[in-house]
């Protein structure tokens, strides 16, 4: 879950990291008042959950409150990356001597957070890492043991920072690491971290991303920031199809059958199990298939829920058939999912054998599941058939045998764009 810059700055300040004098404004008048209170040159920054603000004209400098109000008026009406701003941040234009970078990000491969520090701030850290690797220091740290100031100091000093700068930067970096852990962040970044002419350090910009699953336990923070439960903070608003998927998943407490993402293909997917959704989605595309959706099913959902998800996918305009595929299941029951998807077909007046291109879910209660599938004449596969082969068969069926191997040209989205999956 992404935070706006003004929220990220509030989080940073809450963690005890100094920030510049600033305020969030929703109208030009409010912007003027904040600029008056700051009492000097200010920066007006559009508050959108999208990059490229500077290039799009969403960041302007003002010397007077009147100028600040004028910029705010224009920025508040400026769409950036398909988003209208929520407001503007009116920020003190600090007297900066040097810019640093401080960040913590979750390393999904090492399954640990990694803390990064650079003495070249104000530009993308990826760019610095590529062109000036000796200006980036990094270290993984434990999520169990408390993060100590000493760890921060060691990292900063490895880049040759000494003296007063080292002493002042150390608590900032340590607090950023602690903030990352205590607020379940996946990214906590201060860039630039400015060294002012008087030697003080302040966060000039911040970017925070919180693990979406942590929302329930971070209610207090979200409440303080005024973030409501209804705010999804996705890159785009959920479509009616995706909202309907949430309703299916909320039908009862059993398992997961939802988290759908809409695409515009003709092969509906009912897929899941421990990362299986991402693998299967990619497998379908690799075979030249055009997925109509992404989804997650697992954790032994009820027949009703599996049926609800399958119905939703079957009713999506453009869907010709569905493929029901999972990696090997242990707690999800094959027979229960089979009942659900067949029931969906029957209740919608379809022949399950015609509508279900393939059913490939091996695992718990598969013998019972296979009996059901046989009864309805549905093509099914056991664990001797790989996920990729199952995807190939489904694509072949929907394309009349002509599609295997072709590139799905309309489908440029990748699983990275879908976002992170909660494995079930």
């Amino acid at each position: 879950m992404r935070f706006f810059e003004y929220e990220s700055r509030a989080i940073v300040a809450k963690a005890g990291i100094p920030i510049t004098k600033q305020g969030f404004a929703k109208t030009p008048e409010e912007a003027r008042r904040i600029a008056e209170q700051i009492g000097g040159p200010v920066v007006i920054k559009s508050q959108v959950l999208s990059g490229g603000r500077m290039k799009a004209g969403g960041v302007k400098f003002a010397d007077t409150p009147d100028e600040a109000a004028g910029h705010a008026e224009r920025i508040l009406e400026l769409e950036i990356g398909g988003h209208m701003p929520r407001g503007v941040l009116v920020d003190d234009r600090a007297d900066v001597k040097h810019e640093y970078y401080a960040g913590v990000v979750w390393d999904g491969i090492r399954k640990l957070p990694v803390i990064l520090f650079s003495d070249m701030g104000g530009i993308d850290i990826e760019e610095v890492a590529e062109n000036h690797p000796d200006h980036v220091a990094r270290a993984h740290f434990s999520t169990l043991r408390p993060f100590s100031d000493w760890q921060a100091k060691q990292l900063i000093s490895s880049l040759g920072v000494t003296g007063s700068a080292l002493n002042r930067l150390t608590p900032i970096l340590a607090r950023l690491a602690r903030l990352f852990l205590s607020y379940d962040m996946t990214l906590a970044e201060i860039n630039p971290l400015g060294e002012l002419t008087d030697g003080a350090f302040v966060a000039l910009d911040a970017h925070m991303d919180m693990e979406n699953e942590a929302r329930p336990r971070q209610k207090e923070l979200l409440h303080e920031l005024g973030v409501g439960d209804e705010e999804t903070r996705q890159a785009r608003e959920p479509t009616p199809f995706e909202l309907a998927g949430e309703q299916v998943d909320a039908m009862d407490h059993r398992g997961v059958a939802g988290n759908v993402t809409e695409f515009d293909g003709n092969l509906g997917l009912v897929i899941g199990a421990g990362g299986g959704s991402l693998t299967l989605f990619d497998a379908v595309r690799a075979q030249g298939g055009k997925p109509a959706n992404y989804c997650e099913i697992g954790g032994n959902p009820s027949v009703r829920k599996a049926c609800g998800l399958a119905k939703l996918v079957l009713q999506k305009p453009g869907v010709e058939r569905i493929a029901v595929m999972m990696s090997i299941v242990s707690n999800t029951r094959v027979d229960i999912v089979a009942r659900g998807v067949i029931k969906a077909c029957v209740e919608l007046g379809h022949d399950p054998a015609e509508k279900i291109a393939i059913f490939r879910i091996p695992g718990a209660w598969e013998e019972e599941g296979f009996k059901i599938l046989e009864r309805y004449g549905i093509e099914y596969a056991d664990r001797s058939v790989s996920l990729h082969e199952a995807a190939r068969r489904a694509v072949e069926k929907i394309q009349g045998g002509n599609g295997a191997g072709a590139e799905g040209d309309q489908f440029r989205q990748t699983t990275a764009e879908i976002g992170s999956e909660t494995d079930v």
Partner: protein, 87 residues
């Protein structure tokens, strides 16, 4: 007659009229296939039949041979080998 596609449940009249047994069946079924009417008699919740997880808890909670779970997709019954009424 059931609207369910996959599962049917048959309960002997002696069990259906017995409040205590009806309460027991209502309690043991994990997917709410049994309920009790106002007078305590057993009711089968038709819309939940297809949720049956074949756990046999109902069969074990009632006297032998009085509760049968029928798999409509294969004709098999639980407990295994039990005869289905009317065929």
């Amino acid at each position: 007659m059931t609207d369910a596609l996959f599962i049917d449940v048959e309960v002997d009249a002696s069990v259906a009229q017995d409040r205590e047994l009806a309460a027991k069946l209502t309690e043991v079924c994990p997917v709410d296939i049994f309920a009790q009417s106002d007078d305590g008699a057993l009711e089968i919740v038709q819309e939940n039949l297809d949720e049956c997880v074949l756990c046999e808890l109902c069969i074990n909670a009632a006297p032998p041979g009085t509760v049968k779970v029928i798999k409509l997709y294969s004709g098999e019954t639980l407990p295994a080998g039990a005869a289905v009424a009317g065929g």
